[in-house]
């Protein structure tokens, strides 16, 4: 099962460790498989209210009116929250690390920017009553034209509260990487190979859907039992939205039924805590599976153009990348993921001329956000498909093409960080060894630790 090949980097491995490096049993395995692990939903309180959301049925529309009269008549309904109830309605998750502007309302005011956007929150004695009341809320819309394509969005009418349909990075319309001179590289190259790659949004599909229970305490504080991936990130954003001191809030969690990046956004906690503050009762807000799949942030769809200048012998001497991240309607973590995507280019290869324009673009699709491999997974699909296309074009072995261009210790990456601890060469050699593939002698003895060979 767990094979470790210690023949690589033998001199750098510390020889004797006792517990580290042992396959001790996962601490929570028995609890998980016997159903004894306590998740946030296992902590229940009497008198809890259930929150269900009225959601936009339009991709992009003005809200001309919200009629809650019929909903309030449903037995068991206690209160319906709208944007007027939210102390600081506009936020952006990454403002904690200095990202702005606040581009997302907790609950929208005069317009919705994507289908499924939360509009108002029904609090009721039972989940059934909350659902029934949510169905009876009548929202009067005036449809506006939606934009679903990143490149169309770049040039179409801005649809956000403020600013452009793309995130502005310190005065630039994209995150830039500039290294060497790609145009000169293309001019000197034997071949120029250019392709376009694209992906679709996907769902994190955790076993446990996103949710929380907010409970008012006797001392004026609120405890939030949550399955967030980041307790303090959630706490800090909540305090800013709710306009309360940070120390009025306590987050309890730590055991999560799958995250994959889907529980890094801060969506359910502020509104549940607001409900708890306004009713002085515990409030539970848990996504249904449908909400998890269609409303919670997916992995961003990306579109990536790669243009490579390649020599006959396989050396890539220039790589230009134009990359569009579809952030959907709101920023969330996408600006960060776009920078991560830019930093990842041009992949684990040493290319002397690199030019990257990575755009974080707003459309009327579901807002995307963090997901396992954030900013990198789709880039790797594009980069490694491109490497295969180059190898085919030159009729070269695909492993040897990669080894020829592989980054090694001491090389300079395109974002001007010196490579150390490289091991791309060795994982390719190890994979070749596993499959019984013979690499040419030059590549079989290559090492990440030296530029020789």
């Amino acid at each position: 099962m767990e094979k470790i090949d210690t023949s690589f980097f033998a001199k750098e491995r510390e020889a004797e460790l006792s517990v580290v490096g042992e396959s001790v049993q996962r601490a929570d395995a028995r609890g998980h498989v016997t159903g004894r692990t306590q998740f946030y939903e296992d902590v229940t309180f009497p008198n809890t209210l259930h929150l269900k959301m009225v959601r936009s049925t339009r991709h992009h529309a003005l809200i001309k009116g919200i009629d809650t009269e019929a909903a309030m008549k449903v037995p068991g309904v206690v209160r319906i929250l709208t944007h007027k109830d939210v102390p600081n309605n506009w936020y952006t998750i990454l403002k904690l690390i200095g990202v702005g502007p606040d581009d997302e309302p907790v609950l929208p005011e005069d317009r919705v920017l994507f289908m499924g956007e939360q509009i108002c929150a029904v609090l009721a004695e039972t989940p059934q009553a909350a659902l029934e009341a949510a169905r009876r809320v009548v929202v009067d819309y005036e449809d506006l034209p939606p934009v679903f394509d990143v490149e169309a969005a770049m040039t179409s009418t801005p649809f956000k509260k403020d600013g452009t349909n793309y995130f502005v990075y310190e005065g630039h319309n994209c995150r830039r990487i500039r290294f060497g001179d790609v145009e000169k590289g293309f001019a000197e190259a034997d071949h120029v190979i250019e392709h376009r790659y694209e992906s679709s949004p996907i769902e994190h599909a955790p076993t446990e859907t996103t949710g929380c229970t907010a409970k008012p305490e006797g001392n004026g504080r609120i405890t939030i039992y949550s399955n967030t991936q980041a307790l303090y990130f959630t706490l800090d954003n909540m305090a800013l939205i709710l306009g309360v001191p940070f120390n009025k809030l306590r987050l309890v969690g730590g055991t999560v039924g799958g995250g994959f990046g889907g529980k890094v956004d801060v969506i359910v906690e502020p509104i549940a805590a607001l409900g708890a503050m306004l009713t002085n009762r515990p409030v539970k807000y848990a996504y249904s599976r449908a909400e998890e799949m269609q409303v919670s942030s997916p992995r961003a769809a990306e579109r990536i153009y790669i243009k490579d200048g390649v020599m006959k012998d396989g050396r890539i001497i220039a790589r230009k990348i134009t990359l569009y991240v579809d952030a959907g309607a709101y920023c969330r973590h996408s600006t960060y993921g776009t920078t991560k995507a830019a930093a990842h280019m041009p992949g684990p290869y040493t290319i002397p001329n690199v030019h990257v324009d990575a755009y974080c673009v707003y459309t009327n699709r579901t807002p995307s956000s963090a997901m396992r491999g954030f900013g990198v997974t789709i880039g790797d699909f594009a980069l490694e498909s491109q490497m295969d296309q180059i190898a085919r074009f030159l009729d070269m072995d695909p492993m040897e093409l990669r080894l020829l261009n592989a980054y090694r210790d001491g090389d300079m990456k395109a974002h001007r960080k010196k490579v150390d601890g490289a091991a791309l060469v060795e994982v390719i050699q190890a994979a070749a060894r596993q499959t019984g593939k013979q690499l040419a002698p030059r590549f079989a003895k290559m090492s990440s630790m030296t530029r020789e060979g």
């Binding site: 517990v19 690390i97 599909a205 930093a343 699709r365 790797d380 490694e384 601890g421 994979a431």
Partner: protein, 336 residues
């Protein structure tokens, strides 16, 4: 009609951590009078195993049995600050904080043990089984539990430690993109073998051979599970998943697992995975993060294997039977 076999390769790197906003985590550790050590965190275990790996790192540093280390997480009233579980940062950041805290606690523990044994602390070693003894003289020793009791009831000392790891914020130079966004890079290479049915466009992933370099593997079984789970996710991402099956029409989005296509247990490919270790210069015991990267080489390896099998290059994910059949039609000169 035929079932066409092909093989594809892909190789990737992946950053550990992402400090464009500054990236701190803290850990506190203390010995109880029951012989245990409790590590207090506000970090989240998503199932990836930080509770397990954190306890291993503490046990290694303290020199005590793994079973005597408890992880108490996550509560913002009791646990010190953690940025969160993302960016493949947990083992590296939290592990470093735990290691630092454990070093401080170990120092007090060894000092109290030295007083109890009336020897120099520098002559003492831990046996990893719950005892501290004079190096080379296993009989001249004391149980860790007795040290904890003596510290509390006789010497008025807490055996405790504070741990902190911070990778400071890296500002990006807007013109050039110069930045220092991560701590180290892990690496992977996948060779995928597939079979393409040229009548239905259906793809079966037959086998995946993976080689990973993740610094030092803290727990090889957990690392292996990440590799296998991520490879499954890669198959799913490459061939099945989308929340918008008819994009740019956004209708008919799946609402549950009967509509959202994913491979089932029978679709998991045979796996042969190996880990090689190049310890990082800045991770605890050389660890790098493996959490996020494990779907990344499988996806393009599958795409490349499909091309190898049938000559169709699909450049948009997911690679559905429809796209493959349209590609085959185009190769045969048939109108789509």
């Amino acid at each position: 009609m035929a079932r066409l076999k092909g093989r594809g390769v892909a190789a990737v790197n992946y950053p550990t951590g992402m400090n464009l906003g500054g990236d701190p985590s803290q850990a506190l550790i203390h010995a109880t009078t029951t012989g245990s050590f409790v590590i207090t965190l506000s970090s989240v275990d998503l199932g990836q195993g930080i509770k397990t790996v954190g306890a291993q790192i503490a046990a290694e540093t303290l020199g005590v049995p793994y079973e005597s280390v408890m992880i108490d997480t996550a509560d913002t009233d009791t646990g010190p600050h953690c940025m969160g579980t993302f960016a493949s940062r947990g083992t590296h950041r939290i592990g470093n904080a735990i290691m630092m805290a454990a070093k401080e606690a170990r120092e007090v523990m060894m000092c109290v043990a030295a007083t109890e044994l009336e020897v120099d602390a520098g002559d003492l070693v831990t046996d990893g089984k719950g005892r501290i003894h004079v190096n080379g003289a296993p009989d001249k020793g004391i149980a860790v539990l007795d040290v904890a009791l003596a510290a509390h009831f006789k010497h008025g000392k807490t055996i405790s430690g504070r741990g902190m790891y911070l990778k400071p914020k890296s500002e990006v130079v807007p013109e050039t993109g110069e930045m220092d966004p991560d701590s180290c890079q892990a690496h992977a290479c996948t060779i995928a073998e597939v079979e393409v049915d040229d009548e239905t466009g259906d793809v079966t992933v037959l086998k995946m051979t993976n080689a990973y370099e993740i610094g030092r593997a803290m727990n090889p079984a957990l690392a292996h599970q990440q590799i296998v789970g991520g490879a499954w996710m890669g198959i799913s991402h490459a061939l099945y998943e989308t929340t918008e099956p008819y994009y740019p029409n956004r209708a008919h989005g799946p609402l549950d697992f009967s509509e959202y296509l994913m491979p089932g247990p029978g679709d998991i490919a045979e796996m042969d995975s190996v880990i090689i270790e190049r310890p990082s210069s800045n991770g605890p015991y050389g660890a790098k993060g493996i959490g996020e990267m494990t779907a990344n080489s499988p996806i393009p390896a599958i795409a490349n294997a499909i091309f190898d099998a049938c000559g169709v290059r699909v450049t948009s994910m997911p690679i559905t039977p429809e796209k493959i059949l349209r590609g085959l039609d185009a190769l045969r000169g048939n109108p789509n």
